[in-house]
Every structure is written in structure tokens, then in C-alpha cells.
Amino acid sequence: MSDTQTEPTPAVTPAVTPAVTPAWWLVAEREITTKVRDKTFIGSTVFLLLIVLASIVIPALISGSDGPDKVAVVDPLGTAVVKRADQVAGGGAYEARQLAGVPEAERLVSDGDVDAALVPGDGGYTVVGGSEVDSDLLASLREALLAQQTERNAAGAGLTPDELRAGSGLTERLLDPGPIPPLVAELASIGLAIVFYMTALGFGMMIAQSVVQEKESRVVEILAAAVPIRALLWGKVLGNSIMALAQITVIAIAAIIGLTAIDRDDLLSVIAPVSGWFVVYFVLGFVALASLWAVAGSIATRQEDLQSTTLPGQMILLLPFFFSVFAGDSAKTVASFVPIASSMAMPGRMLTEDVPLWQPLVSIAILIAATVGLVAGGARLYERTLLQTGRRMGYREAIAQKAE
């Protein structure tokens, strides 16, 4: 018998090869695919998108950026005045429409075909409107007419336009120019805080629900037998963080499209760098709380328990949210260094004031330290409580539980 004939039957060894996809990634993948197929999730994301787009575009539409205002005129001087007003406004603001006579001009005003009519009147000109005349339009026309007629009168007196205007120029110089108008900055900073609050709360609740669903359906026992409990936690945190990040990215793209559509590239150039910081703050702030959301799920036994077990998480988000939106400047400065609160306060401050670079760096370092601590503590609680399916526990009880 040759010794190359047959191999001895090998003892039974596990067929698992270590090179296969890590468990935490499989869990994350399942979180994502399940959510992407969930119609409620898709619906709420689309809804959120529409709100963001609408809140940017609708104000612009209402303020009437639909082409130049049309002004009916009946003589060459009127045309010249409207042209001059348009030049002063930067072009594209006003357009003259030459008509045969006053009655026709008035008819077009009544019909709404033109915004106003500029017709010769007592001691100069009259602006004819329907029920009212836009105050900007009125002021522009008044200024243009004054300039036009003053020049004409001056020429009559032998002066050139430059001689006439000598020494009367007025320019503006700001010692502390804000990056963008204060009101816009204020609104944008509140907007960032709302985006963080809504997204962190929404996906946090999803983590808690996903955990309690596995407990409720008892599938957790099979999962825990197959993979380490920590792999389940990391998978959930990773999957939901990716989804949350994807959602705010989509919102950001919607905002960029919106701002471009209404020709506010100037705002974009200011908001874009702050958005970069915001993403860093968002990821850290979200991950810091993610394992606590998982614990909110693991100490519950049924969906109904989540109302009470997620309360601390909701408060941790809600209080800093109100603080960062409504507090005074010095309080906001403090908040921008407190973990979680900083995710909402610091990006806002960077929009409304000049923040020295060291401040966000220090604040992020504090946030990273807090994130590491919270994640480690959360993971420990999660491991101890996940397989307790008997009844709902309190946080205090979970913390007091001894590791086994």
C-alpha cells in the first residue's frame, strides 16, 4: 500500500475562513439596506429635502426675482430715466416700455402688464401705480429723474456733469465687515443647529428601535451566538452614522442647488467652509451619542419602552439645541466647548462672528475625548443588558449590573 494513496479523513474543523467580511460590516450593511427599502424612511427624507429646498427658494420667489420690473413711458426722457435707474441698480432691474399715450399706459398698469407708468405731470413727472407702487422702484425712479434733470439744468447753466458733482460723492467703508448680512447668518446658524438636532434625534431613535426590534423578535439570541455583541453594536452605529451622514450630505447638496438657483453664490462661498466644520462636528457628536441610543434599546424589552428609555437621549439633544439657538453670545461661547452642545453652537458661531482657529480645534479635541468615553461606557452597558429579555431596566440598574 502506497502512502500517497489516500489522505486520512481530517478531523472536523470549522469551515469558517477568517478572510470573510467582518461581522460589524455585515450588520451595518443590513441596517442600511433595510432602511433604504423602508418606505417611511424614504418618504421622510424626501419631505425633509423639499422643506430645505422650499425654505431657500420660496423667499427668493416671493421677493420677485422674476425678471426686471416693467415701467411704461410715453416720452424719450422717461425712457432715459428708467435706463438710468436700471444702470444704478446694476442692470436687469428695470425695463422701459414705450407707449403712445397716457391713457394706454394707465390701461397697462390697471391690467397688471407693467408694474408702473412714468408720465409727465405737474412740475416734473408722475409715477402711476395700481393700488400701490413698490417703494424700491419709486425711490430708484426719483433718484434717476433727479440726477437726469439736474444734469440737464446744469448743462443749461454751463457746467459739465463732473463739475456739478464735484465734492458730493459719498462712499461707505466698514471697519468690521460681517461675512454675510447678520440676519442671514443668524438664520443659517439656526438652520445648522436644526439639521443637527433633527438628524441626530431621528437616526438615534432608529438605532434604539433597531436594537429593541431584535430583542422583541428574539433574533438577538442567534446573533449573539454567531458574532460578538460588540460587533452588533459597531455595525449598528456605523450603519446609522453612514445613513445620517448621507442624509445631511443630500441636504447640503439641495441647499447648494437652491442657493445657485436663486443666484446667491455669495452666501455659498461663506457657508461652504463652515459646512466642512459642521460635518466634522456632526460625525463626532452623532457617534458620541450613538452607543447611548443603542443602550436605550437594549434596556427596553418592547417598542413601547422606548418612550421612557430614550428620554435622556432626547434631553441631551434638546437642551443644548435651545441653548445654542436662544442663548446670549457669551453663553454660546461656553456651549461651543461643551461636548454635544458644541456640535450645534460652534458652527453657528463661525457663521455669525470671527472665531479664532484654536477654538474649534480645542472644542473638537474635547468632543473626541467625550466621544471615546461615552462610546466605551455605552458599549459596556449594551453588552450587559442586550440579552436580558425579561423586563425593562432603568439606567441606574444597568450601570449597577455586574459584568458576567
Binding site: 472536523v12 469551515a15 469558517v16 470573510v20 428574539r218 439570541e221 442567534i222 451566538a225 458574532v227 458576567e404
Partner: protein
Amino acid sequence: MLTVSGLTRRFGETLALDDVRFEVAPGRLTGFVGANGAGKTTTMRIILGVLAPHAGEVRWNGTPLTRATRRSFGYMPEERGLYPKMKIRDQLVFFGKLHGLDPDAAAERVDKLLDRLGLAERAGDMLETLSLGNQQRVQIAAALVHEPVALVLDEPFSGLDPFAVDAMADLLREEVGSHVPVLFSSHQLELVERLCDDLVVLSHGKVVAAGAVDELRGNGRRTTVYRVVLDSDAGWLRDVAGLTVKDVDGCSAQIDVGEPGREQELLRAALERGPVRELTPVRPALSDVFREATSR
């Protein structure tokens, strides 16, 4: 070979497991029986690493069980559960991958299993839309999907009708082949008797009997206990030397003849006194073994 060695576990003041030790041999179905609360589920959860023992260990082919090895085990927990709102094919593939299969192998294997279980056309349905019996089939498929090297099944057949039990038992036999150790707990002793090769009896956290079912029932050797039915009163048997009379009831009696072959002497003696209607060897039913073992 799966070896459970000296497992001890307390819950508060209660000693749930007390030095539990037994073996589950490759290719053999080992029944795990015991009254409610005897510690079966606790033992199984410790084997799967879902619960930690306070003492003792579980070994696989002689070395302590690692997580990597456990990942290749198949487990059906006492409390059933899969994802209710996930399509059954998707979730079986997920479990396959979670147990270490690559995606293609998992998909191929799942299709085969679903076909074998008659669930191929339900592959795209959510689990919750299936009947309870079919959900149970999917649960067994989830334990088998990665071709486990060992199987631990907690009450796998509870809730199934007799036909389904037979179908599932056939599937199990087919899947485990000659090399997979299977431990399964059950309350249905008749079922365990019919299906199992080996038996472990647990009572109040202790193993009170363990071994091959045949051995425990005394089938391996010839029994010395006989039932005799005569035409007249059997009371005289008490006076025959060398016989142990276990029970006499009118014309019938149960007798231990002491050693094989002596039943012939008994027969001759009885025939001298009159007709003998019956002489049958008596083997204990598994329920007797169980009752005797747990009453100690």
C-alpha cells in the same frame, strides 16, 4: 466531539447547573431531556457562549471552544425569532454570511435549503406573512444554512405536527451526516426515543443519566426481567429459589430471573403446574428510564 465539562452556573441564590458534564459524539443525535427548569436551556446557552458559566468549560475536539469555532455552530434557541419584516431569502443569506459564508455560497445554499423545505416560491415573502409551521422551517434553515460543524437545538420540534416532525427529522439526519454532533432538547420522550442515538438526562442542574439510548434501556444485553401469564394464580412463584418476583397480580407476574437462560427453568416449572399463556422479556421504556433517573 463536543465535551461539556464541569459546568456550574448560579442565578442569584439558585444553583441552576451543578457540575454538568457529558459528551456529544460526531454523527449522533443526542437527546437532552429533563423537567422544566432542570437547566437544559442554560446549558445550551453556555455552549453557544451567550451565557458565561461560573465554573467549567466547553471543549471542541479536546480544546476549549473559541468564538471562531462557535461561529460555525448551528443554534436554534428556545425562544424562536428571526426578523419579521425581512424577506426570508434575504435573511437566511444574512445569517449565512454572519456565520462566515461568502455571499455567493450563502445564496446558493439558501436556495437549496428553501427548495428542500418546499419554501422556494415564498423566498421573497416577509417572514411574518408565513404560517407558524413554515416560520419554524425557516428557523431550522437558519440553524443549518452555514453547514454547521455542530448543532445545538433547543426544543426544535415543539409546535410541529407529526408529519412536519418526520420531515424535519429526515432533513436533520441528511444534513448532519456522519460527522456533526447534534444536541437537542425535548419534552417529547417518545420522540427522543425514536430519533436519538444518545441521551443525557438532567435533573435539578445535575446529569443523572447519560449514554446510548439502547444501553440505558438495557437493549444491548439480554434482559433478565420477564412477564409471565398463567391460567391460575401466580403467587407460588414467590417460593421458587433464585427468582426475584417484582410484582404479582392474579395470574400474571413480573420476574427477574437473575441471569440470562434461567427463564427456561422458569418456563419448565410453570408448565408442570399448567398452561403458560405468555412469557415476554420486559424492556424499560425511555419514560421509565427517565422517571427512575430523575427520582433518585
